[in-house]
Subunit: 300 residues, 4 copies
């Protein structure tokens, strides 16, 4: 069985206005921010309307504690987010709007990922899907980025290690953008294999190249697969078959975490493949395998 | 002929999210703020679509200067609004969200009212309508209130006096809420007759009673007509016929300024009566004259 | 314990665009329709965020069958709504937009009320709250009205009678508008006492006067309490104490149904008093709990 | 000087709800349609706020007459759109929602393009930009498509020919989607060179290949440049330099029409390059001005 960890409070995080992700300003008219509640709300609604919800175990998330957040984030950054959140509104990084109670909501988003890990480790479910907001994979130890406040998935892996003693893990991130925050969290950590499939040269700028391979003992334990815009199902199939699965097979993780912007999935199956939200994503075109072949050749 | 003073930039003022006017918070889900761009945008659009625009002279507003704003507001308050506006977002009073460039947009709203005064005084037009945002009639010298940043209409009257030497003026405010800021600006000033028709005991709480009559030499030069909820055209007719017009006749203003939340009207005719926006207003019910009679008896 | 009957599908009913409730047209710019998904979505979200959800039994609604809908509605009307709903979009009455799948969603809204009745009658819960959309109390046998497609609460009472053999019932409707559809359903039926508290002369126009008292054997079994605009907690207290409770006491219903636009409440307690949406409504004050206590005492 | 032809009424066209362009339905939650008023509203607002508006001549559009619409569209199709528009709401093709007064608004959009042509031909301005809604380049003679009701640009060219006697024309369409409607209008017409730059294999499906070259006497007078997703300024530069400019030079049009979804540009300069809306588009970079310079030189 699969668990779904979701909370209505995720809809209450208000990143402020923007023109998509460009901050409103003198020459930029305010409008809805890309990191919209609609992303998770529509998925949650579709889960229920489609009938999928009847086959899932809904789990109520707990909040992550301050000590759990400290596993990744600096005290200064945590204090900054808390101060802005209590004060009303402000920015905790580039395109990271923080509104009333955003600290608590972001801590609940992390907590949902911990709840997912706990349920999988306890064997309650075979896998779990954390449908959370704000997202997390761009957040760094001391800085938010791209709508991400706390590193949800990185903290999930750290929780699995510190609370459950799980050593070898893998994170596969197939959000359209590079999972730079997750990469940074484990860049020198050989126990956590991090793989990111993303649109080449998209966001963050200059991040996510094939040459970012991990450092020190973890060299080769970070894999980036920057796919050309327009890559479709064929490209993903080929990338998984030739790179992701062999790498997982070699790493032999005890726990795997899938990450995509529409949620944070824990476990090795993703029941949500059919319900990707198109919004904010490149539309994936079929059969760009030829382009991918060249890419594959470039990855060790 | 009538002038319309409007600028697209009025749509760019972002008061942040709220539940109507209640600030978003731990138990209040963020949503659209009542002080929405749609208020002026829909009126401007209707002016064009209805064909009314072809019979109006559109004037491009200038910004009010800092010195012009100082006629009403304290340096501390002006500095506060400027600082928040430059910093990105925050509050300049109860339910007064300030966003990027809100200082400049509010100064342009004031400027539109000055432009309207200039055009009427110069005789270019017989009257002028300033369709502006943010609104102004709740703003005090040192504090914003109820979505109002600067006192648009009070500053228009001060401009008429200081720049054009006009002495006797009247402000008639028929917004659904009490024009407390305009009242405060001229409470001891016998040259400016201030009259406010509004829903009794609505906003600001405890403000706008019939006993607020002006002070010192201006006693009797401030008139509040707090109408019961549901008052309709009959109530307004009676209030104008029995109170507003006699008071104007006695005061003999050289310039009259009408004020309502959908804009700020200068001059003594209002071409916009047929296009009231319903939003935020009590729906006005016909024939509550009986209730009004009692009210009239209470006003000296 | 109290049940909450809600379904995400209620958010998917699309009444089309309007200017509040005025249909868009040549001189009316399209905008959001008053009968917005936000009404029930915000309440459902607040139930969860406030923690109230943990003390409620969430029940999944079933759809009402065609035979169940026929208890109130004509075959012609049911066919009309089905045809528009399958075709895409159109109107099934004044201000009754029907969009894709609106027939099925409206049947689910009715079904949620039947589910609430079943749970109360079975004794699973002491009372139940059906948080549904589209609303129902304006709908007539052969015509939708004011956003209402099917008569949710009237159908709930008919279900209680025909399926569970309950004879004496009461419906108390405290939505701001007159419950004309519910009134019509039982206007000559002495077993169902119908009481509506509403703003006088509001909607539907000319409906809901004190002289509409029921007909034939049911004379005196329909009570309208048209309150003046602006009526607050005191008015409601007095109305309940002097009219509603004595009438309930005399009628001695086996089942009472409370109705307000934010949902359809079955049973005698309403756990939702503190979380009324302000939108367009008289705000109800918490100390009405005392009145409700008396109401509870009046129902066996 | 450059003219801008815009009307507030373009904001009033309501294509109904959708999930982006997917019609709402049983498993598709209603949401905002991609063909949103915000597209033209934000551009018009930015023109004013940036100060660009002060350097443009704003022209008020007239409506296209029925006879002018018949130059491209069949009587049956015109009657269908009129009937749906008068009736309230419905579809006039795939993803072509028609709402109240959409017929009249679409006729005004065509009329704005005719107004632009008239101003350029009369020499009042050197070029003109028609900022219109609904868009037009997918519309066929007897069928709407992709949000397009009438073929704005094709009708502009037909007007230039029939009213002004202009024979040789060129249409360059750089919207992200294939200009299939404009292509179809002139597919066998050697006097009108049609060129479309667009994302390959995007919309309409299967349309816009390099092998669609025109037919009969017009063979070689229709050029499609299907660019791969992610193509940027370099791709556009190369496409213009190697294909578009040589083709224009050879065709020697008396009038050139640029087309993109954010408006319909008539004449040879486009003053709007710096203010492209990012929404759904390849972002065009400012240094394309060099390419435009060459384009200008190619047109007498």
């Amino acid at each position: 069985m699969t668990a779904l960890v979701y909370h209505e409070r995720f809809l209450w995080h208000d990143p402020g206005s923007a023109a998509s992700i460009i901050p409103a300003g003198e020459m930029v008219e305010p409008g809805p921010h890309s990191e919209s509640p609609e992303r998770v709300r529509r998925i949650n609604s579709l889960v229920e309307v489609s009938g999928l919800g009847e086959r899932l175990l809904r789990l109520r998330p707990r909040s992550a504690t301050l000590d759990e957040l400290r596993r990744l984030h600096t005290d200064d950054y945590l204090a900054l987010v808390k101060r802005i959140s209590d004060g009303g509104a402000g920015n905790a990084g580039v395109s990271v709007g923080v509104g009333p109670s955003s600290f608590e909501i972001a801590a609940l988003a992390v907590g949902a990922c911990l709840t997912a890990v706990d349920a999988v480790v306890a064997g309650t479910v075979r896998n779990a899907y954390a449908l959370v907001r704000p997202p997390g994979h761009h957040a760094l130890a001391g800085e938010g980025m791209g709508g991400c406040i706390f590193g949800n998935v990185a903290l999930a892996a750290l929780h699995a290690r510190e609370t459950h003693g799980i050593r070898r893990m893998a994170v596969v991130d197939w959000d359209a953008h590079h999972g730079n925050g997750t990469q940074a969290a484990f860049y020198e950590d050989p126990d956590v294999l991090t793989i990111s499939l993303h649109q080449a040269d998209c966001f963050p700028p200059g991040s996510g190249g094939v040459d970012e391979l991990g450092a020190g003992p973890s060299l080769g334990k970070n894999l980036n697969l920057p796919l050309p815009p327009g890559s479709g199902a064929g490209a993903y199939d080929a990338a998984f078959e030739r790179i992701v699965l062999p790498a997982l097979e070699e790493h032999r993780p005890e726990l795997a975490v899938l990450e995509e912007l529409s949620g944070e999935a824990t476990g090795v199956e993703d029941p949500f493949l059919p319900i990707f939200e198109g919004y904010g994503y490149q539309e994936l075109q079929p059969h760009q395998a030829a382009v991918l072949d060249a890419l594959l050749a470039a990855v060790p």
